[in-house]
Structures are given as C-alpha cells and as structure tokens.
Symmetry: C2
Subunit: 373 residues, 2 copies
Amino acid sequence: MIKQSSKANFYPVILAGGRGTRFWPLSRKRMAKQLLPLNSEKTMIQETVERLAPIADKKNFWVITNGDLVQPIAKQLRSVPANQIVPEPVGRNTAPAIGLAAFILERLDPNAVLGLFPSDHVTANEAQFRKDIAKAVTLAAAGENIVVLGIKPTRPETGYGYIEVGEQFERGVMRVRRFTEKPNAEKAAEFLESESYFWNSGVFVWGARTLANALREHLRETAPFLEKIAASYGTKDFTRTFARLYPKCENISVDYAILEPRSAKGIHSSNIFCIPANWGWNDLGSWAALFEHRAAEQQLADDGNVVSSKGSFTHHAGGNFVYSPKKFVAVVGVEDLVVVETEDALLITTRKNSQDVGKVVKFLDEKKLHRLV
Amino acid sequence: MIKQSSKANFYPVILAGGRGTRFWPLSRKRMAKQLLPLNSEKTMIQETVERLAPIADKKNFWVITNGDLVQPIAKQLRSVPANQIVPEPVGRNTAPAIGLAAFILERLDPNAVLGLFPSDHVTANEAQFRKDIAKAVTLAAAGENIVVLGIKPTRPETGYGYIEVGEQFERGVMRVRRFTEKPNAEKAAEFLESESYFWNSGVFVWGARTLANALREHLRETAPFLEKIAASYGTKDFTRTFARLYPKCENISVDYAILEPRSAKGIHSSNIFCIPANWGWNDLGSWAALFEHRAAEQQLADDGNVVSSKGSFTHHAGGNFVYSPKKFVAVVGVEDLVVVETEDALLITTRKNSQDVGKVVKFLDEKKLHRLV
C-alpha cells in the first residue's frame, strides 16, 4: 500500500533514551522499560521495530538512546545497523534528538521522510497502524507538511498533551489548530466530550528537510550545533564533536520547540496535519496502565487478576496485578494491588499508587543503592 | 529452685507432629512451623528445648512427631537422644501421644513427672516460665495431681479453649472447676471480664503414673494398645508393634479424653490445678499472630510495618507484614497486608485473611502440586 519509492525514503527514528523508572523494580538504569517484554515475549523496542518492518527498509532504522542502553539495544535489535544506534552524550529531550537525525538524513538522502516513534508504547492493531503511517509518509513527502498521529481520547486523562484539530483536509486527515499541554480535570472532561481533541501519541512524520528547516527557523542557537555534529557523522571526529556540542543544545521537546510556534502561524499556513489513529494504543505509563492493557487483552471481568507466575491460586481477590514469573502465586482477600518481584527486589503497592514508584527509585538513588536502580 | 531429685525425674515431652499449614508458603510438609525460625534465629522447637534446658536433664527430653519430620528434628535437636524422637505411624491427636510417653516412662522411672509442651509457641519471659514449670513439677510430684498452665486472657479470643478456675489452693495455684471449649464471641467477652477464666496454653504437668492411671480409667480401649507398644519400647519389635497397634488408638485430645471427665468429678476430687502464667505467651497461630508478636516485641507504633528483608522503603504504608529475607522490599500505599516470599512461592493476603492460607494448601493438595506443600 506504500509506494516502493517512499518505502525506500522512509526512516523510522526510534527514541529510546528513557530510563523507565515507573516500572521499577523490573526496569533499571541499564534495563529501561523499552528493553522489557511488558506486552509479549518480545521487548517493547523489538515490537516497535517489528511493527514498522513491513513498511521500512531494515537499513533505514535509527535509534537514539543513552550510553547505558546502546549495548543492550544492539543486542535486542540485530537488524538495525550498529552505527545507527546513536548514544546521546547527555539527555537533551526530543527536539535535539530528532533534530540531529533530521540534519544527518538531510545530508544522506534529500528525499528522506522521518517518522518519530516512542520505543515503549503498545499498539494492538498493527495493520491499521501501518496503514496510518503509510498515509502520513505520503502526506509528508508531498510538501512541507508535518503529520502527527492523534489518539481518540477514551477517558478525561490529565497526563497527556492534546491536539486540537480544525477542518478536514482529506478523508482521515484533519488540519491541526493547536497543541495543548496537559489539561486540568475540567478541561480534560471537555476534551473528552468534544470531537476536536486527540491525545498526542508522540508519533510524528515529516520530511528531513522540512524538519531541518523548522529547526533552523525556531531553534536558531541549537540548529548550528546539530548541523556541525551531523556534518561529522561517519568521520572519526563524530564522537568528539557530538560530546562537545550536544551539551550546548537546548533541552526542549519537539512540541515546545517546533510544533507550538509553527501552529501559531495559523491553521492553513502551518501545514500541520493530524491523522486520527485507532490502534488500541497504550503508552504503558505505569504498572496500572499495564494492568489495564493486559486486562483488556485478556478480556478479564472487572474482578479479574493479571498474574504472571508459574501457577496461581486466587480467592476473594480482584483487580490485582502480580508479576512473579518463576513462582507459584497465591492471592487471597486483596484488591487492586500491584506486586512485582525480581531477583533482588519486591514491590508492594496499589494500582492507584503505582505512579509513586518513582519515589522508591529516588530513595534508592539518594541512598546510593546503585545495584537496585 | 527446682530440687535436684525432681529435675532428674522431670521429662519434657514435646509434641511436634503438626504440619503447620498456616505458615505457608514458609511452612511445608517437611518443614512444619515448629522447624522454622519464626521468632528468632533459632527454630520454634529449638527455642522450646532451650527454654526448658535449665530445669530438665538433656537425656530426659522426648519428642513425639510424624515420620516426615523425624530427620529434620533430629538435625535441629542434637542434644535430644535419637531414640526419644518418636515418629507416630499415624496421627492420633494428643491423648495417645502423651499416653504412650506416660506408659513408657512409667516403666523406666516410676517417679517420672511428665511435662507436655507444644513445640511451636513463643514465651517472652523464659525465667518466669521456668519458675512456673518448676512449681508445677513439684505439685505434680506431690500426688495424683494434674497441673495445667493457664494464660490470662487479653482479648475475647474465640479460637482457644478456656480453663475455669475455682478457689485458690495455694499462692499462685488455683483449683480447676472445668475446661471449656472454644466459646462464641459473647462468652469470650464474658470470660475476658471475669477473673476466673484462663486460656489453655497446652502445657500440662503430671506424674507418669497419674497419667497412666487416668488413661486406664478414661480410655479403656486405647490404654491396653498403648501399654503393649510401651512394653515393646527398646526391643526390636517396637516399630512393628507401634505400626500395628497405634492406628487402633482413639483419635482424641487429652482435654476431651482425660481432663473433662476428670474435672467432672468435682473441684475437690479431680485434683486438677491451674497455675496462672504470665510469660508473654503467643501460640503464633497465623501470620497475623506473628505480626502482632513481632510488632509488640519491636514496640512498633500502630502504623508500623514488620518487614524481614535486605533493606526496605515504606511510604504511606502501615500494619504490613512482609517476609522476603533476601530482597530489597518497597511498600507503598498499602495497609495490613501479609506478603511472604520463598524460593518457589509468593503469598499475598491481608492480616485478616491470613487464616485462609489453609485454603491455598488445600488447593495445592487437590492439584497434587506436592513440591509446593
């Protein structure tokens, strides 16, 4: 369904720098969320690559991550060229990361279309996902267009950014009016009622040149650093240049740096489009989100338990998430708990409190219990 | 404080046949509660023996248990003569067990005084315990007396048998009026108010001859079997005779078989006495009881947690019991849970539901998951 020419020019850029503290004790500094098999027997980043494989050449994949994760990612992604798994010398948020990819690809392939993908989200309907991405690639290749993939809200979520759309551009494609930061509960409820708001999935598609030009326009101080680093790519100076200049780049997200100022140009001038996506998407932001995703997949009743174990017994127990893959697990008389056991740690909390896992990691950092983080 | 002669004649008989399903997954068929270090670094049965060691000769200890536990008990109790760790061919409750000991000891030492001790209770004040037992031994040696140790109730417990006392016999010794089975909540509340009721601690002291005679009188069918088994003790026929006759014995407790009919003779004729005990006694009947005992020992605040682990972090968590000795444990936003982790199993329940652990063991038995029970 995607033309051979555009397949050859499509470059998935996978952002995999996150530490993933929210899945402690399973996630660790060197075993971030994207490296874990949270959704299937494959890891999140393996799923991300395989989901895209039918519409992108193997040699076109890029991964931007941090130094701690280069080795484990290379091990998990044998098909991705090793020199395209790029470790940032320091974390600088999404704008410099995707910007560097844009400047490198602009030099390698003037017709390159970049897709920016998180490495740790799930997508139940992969065929629909590929169809939408292919459409986005075609649209991005057709001009100075930016395409964002928007998820139809299913709850008044206050933890996500939203995309407000205006008129339809073509079937299945809306013009974007503006990007909205995480709303309060009242706003989120309004957004849920309205037909015009979508969750920002973090998936963007645009031409390398479009993005490079946008960076030159909107991130004037940072863009020259990125261009210099890109110019050294493939030479022996790359690592040194990267380490020297990247820290000087602004620590800013693509949304703030480019999408918001560009959308301010007006709905018809910005050329930002939203493809409403219906993939069974979930960003798995916490153990609670993983429970909900798994419960939906297993079509559990409301009082069901998601238990990963070697045998289990449940009695008067419902809504619990238990991960203890090597043990027999007995759950008696408890509700809505999250219990996760690894070789060296045991987490006991509730689904409601599972966002607080970061507090444990903070404690471990402070106590310098490095082996546990 | 105990006369040398009575020390030489005092024989602690420790009942250690229980399977201890209530401490699953820590307790197993071959690792019953009494073999576990629940209260200190020593196991419950080791504590039981060491508590008595200052007032009883090493060679006087007897242990009655089941075939599965003979080896591990022998390993834990190096000081107890191996041929005095006696495996019942089948379980027959306390009357035949202590009865057999009485008939054997009556033959070996006509002046023997037996003390019957559970192997899995805790006693915080061991000096007071020994003082009370020494007093009981003296009283039992003085005639056809039966001495029971009674615990002053501290709550309206419906799970224990009670002893009702009458007049004082001498300082610190009451005459027993009757034994009362587990009461309902209303009765238990009355008993708590009254000064006349004590919990039956399961500790009894009496002469071997007194007990043997009581068995001959009250368990007429069973007593001859026990006498024949006792007569074969020390001969090559013992194991065979034991295996053949013991199953014919009545499956009945000491309380039902002897104490209740004897107390029916009247408060002055029965010669049953109660020594009110104040030892910091706890029968550790469940994970919840263990939590309470440990919390009291650690003088925890109401919102304290009892956590056995290699490091821990608690946040908005109270009243939890967690046992995971080799792991770092994080407990966030939960209350009154019991979580116990072993090499092959993980139990997640509440203090209130911790009595239901037997249901897990039943399930495992039914599913023939023998490695887990």
